[in-house]
């Protein structure tokens, strides 16, 4: 068995069921969201997770046969098989609202700069690494996307096609 860029393979539930080296398990993926952002497993209770290509994890709200050769399955969710796992902008926007950890709140000016794709020097005394950048809109906190915090700087990793122009 190998990993394929053409095919969606369902993630094994746990280590014991893993038959492909380096493939993340469902358990690891769900635990990572909980540890990193405080988003509990109940949020993903009805979802299945799939790998297509090396380390590209997709989230899907249903059952289909595995493996399956189709063009897309739910949304791209997480990049694994690298030192630091990286969530996607779309996943953070969809599931990040309930995050309790590693969320950096931006003021209106910082939020605009962030969604233009700019890097900014911002004070942050939490963990380094991938954070959820958020701002307040219509009276509530809302996740904007993924930021990478290193050495006093918040780097925007909002993909080009998802940036906002004003």
């Amino acid at each position: 068995m190998s990993n394929s860029g053409q095919r969606f393979d369902r993630l094994p539930e746990t280590d014991e069921e893993r038959d492909l080296d380096g493939r993340a398990t469902r358990e690891e993926v769900v635990e990572w969201w909980d540890e990193r952002f405080g988003i509990g497993s109940e949020k993903f209770a009805e979802h299945t997770f799939w790998e297509k290509g090396a380390g590209k994890i997709w989230i899907f709200h249903d059952e289909v046969p595995s493996p399956t050769e189709i063009e897309g399955l739910g949304m791209k969710f997480l990049r694994t098989r690298q030192e630091h796992w990286k969530p996607t902008t779309n996943a953070v926007q969809r599931f990040g609202r309930g995050a309790t950890r590693n969320v950096i709140d931006l003021d209106p000016e910082q939020a605009m700069a962030f969604v233009r794709g700019e890097d900014q020097e911002i004070e942050w005394d939490g963990d380094w690494g991938y954070l959820i950048a958020a701002h307040e809109i219509a009276g509530e906190r809302e996740p904007l996307g993924v930021g990478l915090y290193l050495h006093g700087e918040l780097r925007s990793v909002v993909p080009k096609g998802r940036r906002r122009e004003d």
């Binding site: 899907f60 249903d62 046969p65 189709i70 063009e71 897309g72 949304m75 219509a138 096609g161």
Partner: protein
């Protein structure tokens, strides 16, 4: 515009029809309830001083006072999606329930797919199919921006659609928003009719018949197929339904339509169609200030 003169016998107040075709469309969006409620979206638009007007028939449809809805926070967050008002109709007529299995046979660029997914509360399965890789990439981009997790994307010729990759025997509902000569989108793209020819209309009609036929075969007994186009040509509308009624086990059924519409035509240039095609609805630009549209609801009987 000369092309449209062939429809003069079908359209009441033809001058008003032509005048409407020359006006640009209002800027309309649909609120993506998977990510945010209508009220919160309105509050966010107000905070940015973007005015809006409701549409009585559908609370998720808003007309905005900006031609660039993409430059708003609700757009960035995937709370709204630009979708012409009458294009919101077929998914409403399809009316899928949460947990069902639905095929969107000609899905790209995905506005209607996203609306179907939202009507299902992002549960069940929506198979979004298209045969063109470029259009599929737009569909995938939109589906992810709008946060859909119940959509599986396939690339097949809808005339020979295989259910195997998604592991199903039949769908509960299928939307066929067919590729067409697009006469009805002239308000959005004024050059649409420059390449118009009767042979194109006849060719695309053949493709439409094949797609609708396969859609009916792929739907369970008692299931629903909605057929829609953005064109006025009876060759692409009622003639396609007439063909499906002859070849497959199905019937045309009435549906509630909140927008002003006219019945399907049963006679066109010497051809007579099955009388039940009158239950389909035609939407003309001057009646609701929208694009032109055609929509029919079929029930699968065998």
């Amino acid at each position: 515009m000369e092309v449209l003169s062939r429809y003069e016998p079908l359209v009441d107040d033809f001058e008003a029809f032509l005048a409407a075709c020359e006006r640009s469309l209002p800027s309309v969006v649909r609120v993506n309830t998977i990510k945010a409620g209508v009220e919160r979206t309105k509050r966010a638009l107000e905070a940015e001083d973007v005015g809006y007007r409701d549409r009585d028939w559908n609370p998720t449809v808003l007309e905005l006072d900006t031609n660039k809805p993409g430059n708003t926070w609700p757009y960035f967050h995937g709370w709204i999606h630009g979708q012409e008002e009458v294009s919101s109709l077929p998914a409403t007529v399809l009316s899928p329930d949460p947990g069902e299995r639905v095929l969107d046979a000609c899905a790209a660029p995905g506005g209607k797919t996203a609306q179907i997914a939202a009507l299902m509360d992002d549960t069940g399965l929506v198979v979004a199919n298209d045969n063109n890789l470029g259009r599929l990439s737009a569909l995938r981009f939109n589906a992810e921006r709008l946060g859909l997790t119940n959509v599986a994307v396939t690339r097949q010729d809808a005339r020979n659609f295989s259910l195997k990759p998604v592991g199903l025997d039949a769908f509960d509902r299928v939307l066929v928003d067919a590729p067409c000569s697009c006469e009805g989108i002239i308000r959005k793209r004024p050059d649409t009719l420059d390449e118009w020819s009767l042979s194109h209309v006849e060719g695309v009609s053949g493709v439409q018949k094949g797609i609708l036929k396969r859609a009916i075969q792929a739907t369970r007994e008692g299931g629903v197929v909605v057929y829609s186009t953005c064109t006025f040509a009876p060759e692409e509308n009622e003639a396609v339904l007439d063909h499906a009624l002859e070849e497959e086990d199905c019937r045309v059924v009435e549906f509630e339509t909140p927008l002003d519409s006219r019945p399907g035509v049963t006679e066109w240039q010497g051809e007579r169609y099955h009388e039940s095609v009158a239950k389909a609805r035609r939407y003309y630009p001057h009646h609701n200030d929208t694009g032109g549209f055609f929509c029919a609801k079929l029930e699968v009987t065998g």
